[in-house]
């Protein structure tokens, strides 16, 4: 069972991601509400995958990806973006993120992306 860390400043979004992936056998091992907390939780929990919002307080999701890549260059990070954030998504991919999903989330699309990223990395 893949262990997932979910980072989003909105508890609404964290809950939605949890509900989507819990049904499919992923285990949400932790949640983070800002870009500093997600790096701390990553270090503490060593998840298989991080779902990372782009717009977060304290530190953006892109900066958090860069910090995580310094700690673990092989880390699997999937960005959670909104329409209109294409440039930021590209920046995150260049920083090391493996893929992205777009809000509003379509459950099947989220699950397909997570499976694809984890299969590639296994």
């Amino acid at each position: 069972m893949a262990r997932v860390l979910v980072a989003d400043d909105a508890s609404f979004m964290r809950q939605m991601i949890r509900d989507i992936i819990d049904q499919e056998g992923f285990e949400v091992v932790g949640e983070a509400a800002d870009g500093v907390e997600v790096v701390e939780k990553f270090t503490e929990l060593s998840p298989d995958l991080v779902m990372m919002d782009i717009v977060m307080p304290k530190r953006s999701g892109i900066d958090a990806v860069k910090a995580i890549m310094e700690i673990a260059p092989q880390a699997c990070v999937v960005m959670c973006s909104a329409l209109g954030q294409e440039t930021l998504v590209m920046e995150a991919i260049q920083a090391g993120a493996k893929d992205f999903i777009v809000k509003p989330f379509k459950p099947e699309s989220v699950l397909t992306t997570l499976r694809k990223v984890l299969e590639k990395e296994s």
Binding site: F12, D19, V55
Partner: protein
Amino acid sequence: MDLAKYRTLFLEEATDHLSEMSRALLLLEKDAEDADAIDLVFRMAHSIKGMAGSLGYDSVTEVSHVLEDRMDECRTAGRVEGASLALLFRGLEGLERMVEIVRKSGTGPPTDPELLAGLRAEAAAPEQVPATRPETPPKKV
């Protein structure tokens, strides 16, 4: 999707966000270059847009999107012009009304074409807007 559960989460979080947005806008009235306040309003508008989009509340999504875009410009400029502040207060009042409709009716609020057209017009021609908060009280719903 358990709509009732997510509607409750939306109401709690959107209400908090709008209060924070209101406080930040008051700070920006005093200091137009308050970077933390600019960033906070941007994030609150972005977050409300995301939640509303997930629930299909298109009217809320549209208004918050206009505010988010304007705040993104303000982040780049490093300050909020008076005209933008007027737009932001108007948008805030519109979002507060819409969230109240969700609270009372349990459904998505109807589109407010007048508000949206006004916000978009102000965003397109900010120099024509008075640099103060709107004097008129929020429209009754």
